[in-house]
Structures are given as C-alpha cells and as structure tokens.
Symmetry: C2
Subunit: 216 residues, 2 copies
DNA sequence: TTATTTTTTTAGATTAGTCTAAATTATTTA
DNA sequence: TAAATAATTTAGACTAATCTAAAAAAATAA
C-alpha cells in the first residue's frame, strides 16, 4: 500500500489536474501546506512508482494507476462525510477534517460495506459525487450562481469552497443543498446577486455567487 | 497529539502491565513485533513526555496520563469493532486488524457520537468491556473454562486469544459470546474438557479451555 | 561467588518526509 | 532578445522510527 503522504499528494494532484490538466509544483505545495522542495522530492518518488507523469519543470498529472488510487481516496472521504452527517448527526461544516483522517483507512471491503449500509449514496453532504466501487461517478456540470442570468432558477447542488465559514454562512442564509432558488437580480456595480429562495429574498456577494453551484 | 507509534506503545504497555504491574523491554518488543533497541528508544521518549515511569533495566508502567491515553485508544478500538460487527455485518474474527487502524482516528467527539449512535454498548464482539467516555468500564472477573469444576455452568463471556483461527474454531463449535454452557467432564489425562451447550456436547482441549472465559 | 547466559542499553546507520538556502531553468517584461 | 523575476530543483541538514552490532547490566547456574 501507499503511505499517508503519498495518498495526500495523489489526491491533491487529482483535484488540481481536474481543472488544469496539469498540476504545478507550487500549486501542489500550497494545497498541501508544504514547500516546493518537498514536493519535488515526492514527485520523484511517485514517478518512480509510475503513479504520476513527471518531467522536471513541466508539472505533473496522474497515470491511470495513480488516478485509481486518488479516486478511491476521494470515495472514502465522501462516504465517511456522508456517514458523519447522516448517521452521527454532524453538520456539513464539521466533517471535512474528520474525513481527511478517515479517508486513509485502507480496507476496501470496509468502505464497500459502509456504502451498502448507507444505501449507496450518490452525493456527499456538500453535493460532490461519490465514486462507486468501480470508481465511476456522476459528472454532470454545475454552474456557479454567478454565471446564471436573471430569472433563471435551479437547485443548489454543490459548493466550490468547503471551508466551515462559507458553509456556516450558507446555513444562515438557508442556501443549502437541494434548495430551489431563482436569480431575481444581478447588481451591475459589484456583480452581487439577488436570489429568491422558498421563503425570502437573499442578497449575496459576487464571491459567494461564485462558490455556490446550481443545477438548472 | 501523539504519533501512531506512541499510541501503539502505550496500548501495548497497558495490556502487559494489567497482568504483571510492569512491562519489560522484551515483552513490549515482542508484542509490537519490533526490536528491544527500538523499544528502549521509544521508552525514553514516552518517559520524557511523562506518559510512563521508566528506570533503565527495571521495566515500565503507565503514569495516569499515559493510562488515560491507552484507555481512550482501547475505547476506540472496541467501539469500532462493535460498529463493524453490528452495523456492517463483519464476523467477530474479521474485525481486529481493521480496528487496529481505526482506533487511531483522533476525534473524541466522533467516538462519543459513534457510542451514542450504537446505544452505548458495554462489551465488544469478543466480550471485552468498552470504556465509557470517562474511561470507566466493567471489570468483573471472568474465569477460564479450564478453572471451573465439573457440573458448574455459566455464560461464555470472553476470550483470551483474539486470533481469527481461534474465533473461527469457536464459531464452528458454537461456543460464542452469550451461550450458556455446563462443564460435564474434565479428562484427567490431558486436562481437556467436555462441555454441554444448548444442543450438543463439545469436547475441547486444555488450551481452548484456557482461552475461553465464562461468567458463573 | 565467579562464570555464563539473558536482558537491556548504547552507538552508529537507514528510510521517509520534511526543511532552508543556493543553484538552475522558465517566463515575463522592457 | 537581454535582463529581471518567478518557478523549480538540488544540496545538505533535521526528526521520528526503525535496524544491527557491540557494550553493559542483571539474573542464573555452577
């Protein structure tokens, strides 16, 4: 098996390379709160194990076997998050750090049984898709609220920022996963957005709108 | 917090010192599958942290703060074992190694909620007592079947050997936790024991009788 | 009580993962 | 395109946890 550090690198590279196609040394360093020189060392090790494609100065991406490991860690992370919220009554803003630790429990059989126990959930508490035991998962595109035009409506289905403070803010405004909303106005001056929820009207900043994802 | 290695040492010392009052360097080494010299190094570190009482060549025992950590790890281990058997349908012979990994998940809040979720179980699947959130647990003495006289009966309530092969053997003979049994004969020649269970009579070796615990 | 054996500790090395500081390569800007 | 800046890698060192081999202490046997 792989070490904890290796698993964290693979996961970080996966998330970075999903967007860019490639992850740079500095991006990896900042996402893991470590130094570029440490990253370089680890990249060599992962390349030796054929888990990443690495040419010096060019950034990296995952090989199929590296991706398989990354997805299995993400599967574990999201299933544990679901467990913590649905079975142990944690709030969605409390589970990320716990799941960071639990995702490294190695047994595949354990995680498959946990999946079964919970009824094969498709999404975690933040709306992110949960890969199945073969690594396949939903991938339909969500749009940030900031990219939607006035009078369109949709269902809140994900977030881009997983920080507690953002999630707590959304809770307070009752902007949670599954809520139906309609964009009623976009303020030209600061790109803030006025949103109609079930009960009331909420005014959110451009930044919030950017980090809140809806399915149309 | 403490490292994984430190936690494993504290747990090993706890289990060894429960019997002897003191754990020797070699005992610790063999219970952790490591070398005596490695143990000596770690003992110094744990003594520096005031988690054990250590005088060279004299063996060690836990300080109150070391014991508190050890018991919290044992609590986690046993609660996770209970979870794996009761919620995820693992067999009692499959859960030890999984729980060895899960016991190091650090959050106390998580484990307290897991405890609540399962209804505050008092014993794990092998009959061992589960410490509560204050570290208190049942401590009434169990007797090995080998120490019981003919015609006495009791409830199977624990095992001394937690190996898969022993537990699978007990399964096959239907000698599982909670079963009422009566000792009907003790063979003088080899100290093997004849036991009456609900349905049938089972003949077990001295070694098995020694590792099977009952409450009278 | 001296010699032998066993147990424990010390000394010195190794590996994984990290760091700082310096050197190198790439990119940007003028 | 040359100079300046930014990104990346190399060099050398550190810590935690381990190891082997040798030395020292304790226990056992003669």
């Amino acid at each position: 098996m792989n070490t904890l550090a290796e698993e964290n690198y693979l996961k970080a590279i996966y998330h970075l390379a999903v967007n860019d196609g490639n992850a740079s040394t500095n991006q990896i360093a900042s996402s893991l709160n470590t130094k570029a020189s440490s990253v370089t060392d680890m990249l060599k090790k992962l390349a030796d194990k054929a888990l990443i494609n690495y040419t010096p100065y060019q950034g990296v991406n995952l090989t199929p076997s590296g991706e398989k490991i990354a997805i299995s860690i993400i599967r574990k992370h999201r299933l544990w998050e679901y467990f913590l919220v649905e079975k142990l009554n944690f709030k969605w803003d409390q589970v990320h750090d716990l799941a960071e630790e639990m995702e490294h429990i190695s047994s595949e059989e354990l995680i498959d049984r946990l999946d079964e126990f919970m009824g094969y959930p498709k999404h975690d508490p933040h709306g992110d898709p949960i890969p199945d035991c073969n690594g396949r998962f939903d991938t339909h595109e969500l749009k940030p609220v900031s990219a939607v035009t006035v009078n369109q409506s949709g269902i809140i289905s994900g977030v881009r920022d997983h920080s507690s403070s953002f999630l707590q803010y959304l809770d307070k405004k009752q902007l949670t996963i599954g809520c139906k909303i309609m964009i009623t106005d976009i303020i030209e001056y600061d790109h803030s957005v006025v949103v109609q929820t079930g009960n009331n009207e909420v005014h959110i900043s451009r930044e919030v709108a950017n980090n809140l994802l809806i399915a149309l």
